[in-house]
């Protein structure tokens, strides 16, 4: 097998890094989804088992993890919509960079709203 050039990391721009992000978040969500279906299945086993697992989700550390997960989902979702626009909207390729900034802005707003609510619920109690 032949040798290809190694060397430095390619310095891609917005398009490449958003794809890296999309790919990583996609895998993370997928792995979580596997676990999430399994834990939800416990409702078929017994309410007790389910509630026991759910209790672990309620610890503050997990709340941070949940925030990260939601961050991943929200980024993947918004960027996914951007990719769909790139593919189907005539001007999509032209404005892909602006749309990425839009995605990030929306992502920040969404995450701020979510984190405030979610973390205050998780840490603050009722």
């Amino acid at each position: 097998m032949s040798k290809t050039s190694s060397g430095t990391l390619y310095r891609g721009r917005e398009g490449m890094w958003s794809w890296v992000g999309h790919r990583i978040t996609g895998v993370v969500i997928f792995l979580f989804l596997l676990v999430h279906v399994l834990d939800t299945s416990l409702v078929r086993v017994s309410p007790g088992a389910y509630d026991a697992v759910m209790a672990t989700y309620k610890n503050p550390l997990m709340a941070l993890g949940e925030t990260a997960l939601v961050a991943a989902i929200v980024f993947h979702a918004f960027n996914g919509l951007r990719l769909i626009l790139v593919d189907f909207w005539k001007q999509g390729t032209k404005y892909q960079r602006q749309m990425l900034w839009g995605v990030l802005a929306l992502w920040v707003i969404t995450m701020l709203a979510f984190s405030i609510r979610h973390l205050s619920l998780a840490f603050g109690g009722h």
């Binding site: 050039s5 060397g7 390619y10 891609g12 398009g15 490449m16 794809w19 593919d87 390729t93 032209k94």
Partner: protein, 260 residues
């Protein structure tokens, strides 16, 4: 020879200082080249060269300076020296560029300027890669005009609008900057790559061509357009300013609308 006719020619006022000029600035750079000399060492390594260059110089001039004045074994391809032949695509400061179109003055001199071969194609020596796999993909998309039936006997007409549909992709110089910047191509080299798609696009959207369907069929492959993840590295890298990702999107849509 001299101007015998004294009669005044029509003239205009020129803005003062017009046409540039002035002293050409001079500066020092470190050129950091990824060397690979398979006949002497097994592995690639970095080598630094300290050079004094001028404001109008390009990276190609710096490479020539090394080759001509310091180390004749430094190997790279080049020909036209003004961005039209596609010989010298390489990674300059981490991005695919043509060495002959990248002015040194536009780069940061406080850090070494890194120069490496393009990625994803077999490395042969220094900055030279084997281009055959690249051209093979190109050849596979039927990059030529096909017309059914008889040769036309006279010129075919084509409106300016029809021409505009594919004009962008006719600019391609097959430099491989796009294909070798594509993260999908790096993975296993099986992807047709943006350059092949660009050259298919050039014919698919040419009103005179009759083999568009066959090309769409070829690119509707697991290694075809669907492998593109719209990372835009190709569009950013193209020295001819071709909207590569847009061309790919148009091909995807053509395949879709043909199947649906």
């Amino acid at each position: 020879m001299s101007t015998e006719l004294p009669e005044p020619a029509s003239k205009i006022e020129l803005k003062p200082g017009v046409g540039g000029g002035g002293e050409i600035p001079q500066f020092n750079i470190t050129l950091r080249v990824r060397r690979y000399l398979p006949e002497t060492t097994a592995d690639a390594y970095w080598e630094d060269f300290e050079l004094t260059m001028y404001g109008t110089d390009r990276v190609l001039d710096a490479l020539h300076k090394v080759k001509w004045d310091i180390d004749g074994s430094l190997s790279f391809r080049r020909s036209c020296a003004h961005g039209i032949c596609g010989s010298d695509a390489m990674r300059i400061n981490g991005r695919n560029r043509l060495a002959c179109k990248t002015l040194l003055k536009d780069l940061d001199h406080s850090k070494p300027i890194t120069v490496e071969a393009i990625k994803g194609l077999p490395l042969e020596k220094d900055l030279i890669v084997d281009m055959e796999p690249f051209f093979q993909s190109y050849r596979e998309v039927m990059p030529f005009l096909v017309n059914k039936g008889h040769e036309p006997s006279a010129e075919r007409y084509q409106s300016a609008e029809e021409h505009a549909k594919f004009e962008d992709t006719t600019k391609c110089i097959l430099c491989a900057a796009c294909t070798s910047s594509c993260p999908v191509f790096w993975t296993d080299g099986q992807y047709f790559g943006p350059a092949a798609i660009v050259n298919a696009h050039r014919f698919i959207f040419d009103s005179r061509d009759d083999a568009g369907d066959m090309r769409l069929e070829i690119l509707n492959d697991k290694e075809g357009v669907w492998r593109c993840r719209t990372t835009f590295n190709c569009s950013e890298a193209c020295p001819r300013g071709i909207q590569v990702t847009k061309a790919i999107a148009e091909v995807k849509q053509a395949i879709l609308s043909r199947s649906i």
